[in-house]
C-alpha cells in the first residue's frame, strides 16, 4: 500500500531524512515514532508530495508521491501536524470547501463525525481552541472515507475523552481494512492502535518492530511510596533497578519483566504507586543511548 525506498532529503542545516526504507501493508496501522526534529514530518511531507526527494522514492497505491502526487493523494486522508486554516472562515465553510475539493457528495458520514466529536462547526476559526481546530481537521481527514490515513501527531491538543473517541474512530476504520500511518513523539499515543512502529532517530530508521515487542522493550519508571522507611534499604538490596530514592519514595526502572517487581513489592507495605511520564528517548533508551553519553 505504501512503499518507501531509500528516501533521502537533506536540508541546508544538515538535518533531514536519510535512506529511509519501509513498507506498510493494506489494513495495517503503522506508527512513526521519534522525538521532535527526528524527521517524522519530513517523511510525511514526502508522502503528501510537498517536496521532491533528493534520492529514493515514495509510492502510495502504486503512484509516485512526487511525480503523480495528485493521484497518490486521491485516496488519502491527511491530518497535518500544525493546523492552520484559512482566515476569515468558520469550521463548516472550511469542511464544505474540503468536501468540494475531495469530490465528496454524500454528507451523511460528515455529519455523523461532527456529532461524534461534539463541536459546533459554525464557530469562526479565530474563536476556536486548539482542540476544536483539531476536531475540524479530523472531520476533514475522515469524511471522504479514504483508504489510507496519514496522521501527523493526531491526538495532540485533544482532551483525554476526545483522544478516546479518536482512538475508537481509528480502530473502527482499521476494522474496515483501512491503512494508517501515524507519527508521534509519544509511545502511549500509538501503542493502543498501531500494529508496527518504526523508531526514527536523527532522520534514520533505527528499527521497525511489532508493537508487542516494543511494549516489552520499553522502560517504565515507577515511583513507589513505602510506608516504612526502613524498607527502603531492604528494597535497595534486591535485584530491582533503583534509579534513586527520596525519603520513603523509591524510583524503580522496569523493562519487560514485571513479575520480579510484583514479587519484591509484595514483601512490603506499599502505600502508593505512580508512573513517571517519560519522553520517547527515555522509553527506548537502547536506541537513543547517545543522549546519555552526551551528558
Amino acid at each position: 500500500m505504501i512503499e518507501i525506498h531509500g528516501l533521502t532529503q537533506q536540508f541546508s542545516n544538515g538535518r533531514g531524512i536519510f535512506d529511509v526504507t519501509f513498507e506498510v501493508e493494506k489494513g495495517e496501522v503503522f506508527g512513526f515514532l521519534g522525538p521532535n526534529g527526528a524527521g517524522k514530518s519530513t517523511m510525511i511531507r514526502h508522502l503528501m508530495g510537498y517536496m521532491k526527494p533528493q534520492k529514493g522514492t515514495a509510492i502510495i497505491h502504486g503512484f509516485n508521491t512526487w511525480e503523480q502526487q495528485e493521484k497518490a493523494r486521491e485516496k488519502v486522508g491527511y491530518l497535518p501536524g500544525e493546523i492552520s486554516f484559512l482566515d476569515g472562515m468558520n469550521g463548516l465553510e472550511f469542511i464544505n470547501l474540503m468536501a468540494g475539493m475531495q469530490g465528496l457528495k454524500d454528507k451523511k458520514w460528515q455529519n455523523e463525525l461532527i456529532e461524534q466529536l461534539q463541536f459546533d462547526p459554525k464557530t469562526p476559526f479565530r474563536k476556536m481552541s486548539k482542540g476544536m481546530k483539531q476536531k475540524v481537521g479530523i472531520v476533514v481527514t475522515f469524511m471522504h472515507n479514504p483508504e489510507i490515513y496519514i496522521l501527523d501527531e493526531p491526538t495532540s491538543g485533544l482532551d483525554p475523552l476526545m483522544q478516546k473517541v479518536f482512538i475508537d474512530l481509528v480502530l473502527e476504520e482499521k476494522a474496515k481494512g483501512k491503512t494508517f500511518i501515524m507519527s508521534s513523539h509519544s509511545f502511549a499515543e500509538i501503542e493502543r492502535t498501531c500494529d508496527r512502529a518504526a523508531i526514527i532517530k536523527d532522520g534514520r530508521i533505527v528499527t521497525v518492530k511489532n508493537i508487542n515487542d516494543l511494549q516489552y522493550m520499553q522502560r517504565k519508571i515507577y515511583d513507589i511510596t513505602l510506608e516504612n522507611k526502613n524498607d527502603v534499604e531492604r528494597i535497595q538490596a534486591s535485584n530491582l533497578i533503583i534509579e534513586n530514592t527520596n525519603d520513603n519514595v523509591v524510583r524503580i526502572v522496569v523493562q519487560g519483566d514485571y513479575n520480579e517487581l510484583i514479587e519484591e513489592l509484595s514483601k512490603f507495605n506499599v502505600i502508593n504507586i505512580s508512573i513517571v511520564s517519560q519522553s520517547i528517548e527515555d522509553v527506548f533508551m537502547n536506541y537513543y543511548d547517545t543522549k546519555g553519553a552526551e551528558k
Binding site: M48, Y50, Q69, P80, E82, M89, M98, G103
Partner: protein
C-alpha cells in the same frame, strides 16, 4: 481550475473586491463631478498650466485638460487608478499563494486529488476576476457619471472610455501577473509583498522618469506602464491594438510561469 476552491476564494476576497471596486468607481464619479466647474474656468486654468514646464505637463498628462476625456484620463486613469490597482494586485497576488504557503494552510488545499496546477490556475483566475470586477465597476461609474453630469458636446465617447478601461485592465493583468509569479516563488509572505511592491514602484517610476526627461525616454521601454496611455487613448492618438496584445502576452507568460513554478518547487508545508 477547481470550482469549490474558486467559490470559497471569491467569497473570502469579496470584501476587498468590493471596497477597491467601489472606491475606484466613487473616485471616477467624484472627478467627473468636478469637471463642469473646471471647464467653466478653462481659460484661467490653461493660463496656469502654461507656467508648468513642458516635460512635467507630459508626465502628468496636463496637455489635454480642455476636454472631459483628457481631464478624466489624466486626473484619474493616469494617477489614482494605477495606484489603487497596483496596491490591489500586489496584495491579492500575495494573499492567494505566498500567504497560504507561509501560514501552512496550503497543506490542506494540497491534501486532496486537486493538483498543484489546478490550485495555481484557480488562484490566478480569482486574481484576474478581482481585477475585472474592479475595472468593471470603475467603467460603470464613469459611464453613469458622464451621462448625468457632463454636457453631450464635451462628453467622452462610449468606445473611447471603454478602451481606456480595457487598457487599464490589461496593464494590471500584467502587474497582477508578475506579482503572482513572485508570490508563487516565495515561502515568506512579507518577502512576496516586498518584492512585488518594489517591482511595481520601480516600473511606475521608470515610466514617470521617461515621460519627464527626453534623455531618459528609453527607460519607458523596460516598463509595462508605458504601454498604457489613457490621455492618448482619450485624444484618439494612441495605437491601441499592438500595446494591448503585448500586455496580454506578458501577462499570460507571467501567469503560466507562476503555475509551472508552483508545480515544480518544494513547499515548506
Amino acid at each position: 481550475m477547481n470550482i469549490s476552491l474558486f467559490n470559497q476564494m471569491i467569497k473570502l476576497n469579496m470584501k476587498n473586491f468590493l471596497s477597491f471596486g467601489f472606491g475606484s468607481a466613487l473616485y471616477v464619479v467624484l472627478m467627473t463631478s468636478l469637471y463642469p466647474m473646471f471647464a467653466e474656468n478653462a481659460e484661467a486654468i490653461n493660463e496656469l498650466i502654461k507656467i508648468i514646464p513642458e516635460t512635467l505637463k507630459n508626465a502628468l498628462g496636463f496637455d489635454s485638460l480642455t476636454s472631459y476625456g483628457g481631464f478624466i484620463s489624466a486626473e484619474y486613469f493616469g494617477m489614482f487608478f494605477p495606484i489603487i490597482l497596483s496596491v490591489f494586485s500586489v496584495m491579492t497576488a500575495t494573499q492567494l499563494l505566498a500567504h497560504l504557503v507561509d501560514k501552512g494552510s496550503m497543506a490542506y488545499l494540497l491534501s486532496t486529488k486537486v493538483s498543484r496546477i489546478q490550485i495555481a490556475v484557480t488562484q490566478a483566475i480569482v486574481l484576474i476576476s478581482g481585477l475585472l470586477f474592479i475595472v468593471l465597476l470603475t467603467f460603470l461609474g464613469g459611464i453613469v457619471a458622464g451621462e448625468i453630469l457632463i454636457d453631450e458636446q464635451i462628453s467622452l465617447e462610449f468606445n473611447t472610455f471603454f478602451q481606456i478601461n480595457l487598457g487599464g485592465f490589461l496593464l494590471f493583468f500584467v502587474v497582477g501577473g508578475y506579482s503572482f509569479l513572485v508570490s508563487s516563488l516565495c515561502n515568506d509572505e512579507k518577502k512576496s509583498l516586498g518584492i512585488a511592491g518594489a517591482l511595481t514602484s520601480i516600473f511606475y517610476g521608470l515610466d514617470m522618469a521617461g515621460k519627464i526627461s527626453s534623455e531618459l525616454e528609453w527607460l519607458r521601454n523596460i516598463t509595462p506602464f508605458s504601454l498604457y496611455n489613457p490621455s492618448e487613448i482619450a485624444s484618439g492618438d494612441a495605437e491601441i491594438f499592438i500595446p494591448s496584445l503585448i500586455l496580454l502576452g506578458i501577462g499570460l507568460f507571467n501567469y503560466s510561469a507562476a503555475v509551472v513554478v508552483f508545480k515544480l518547487r518544494n513547499l515548506p508545508l
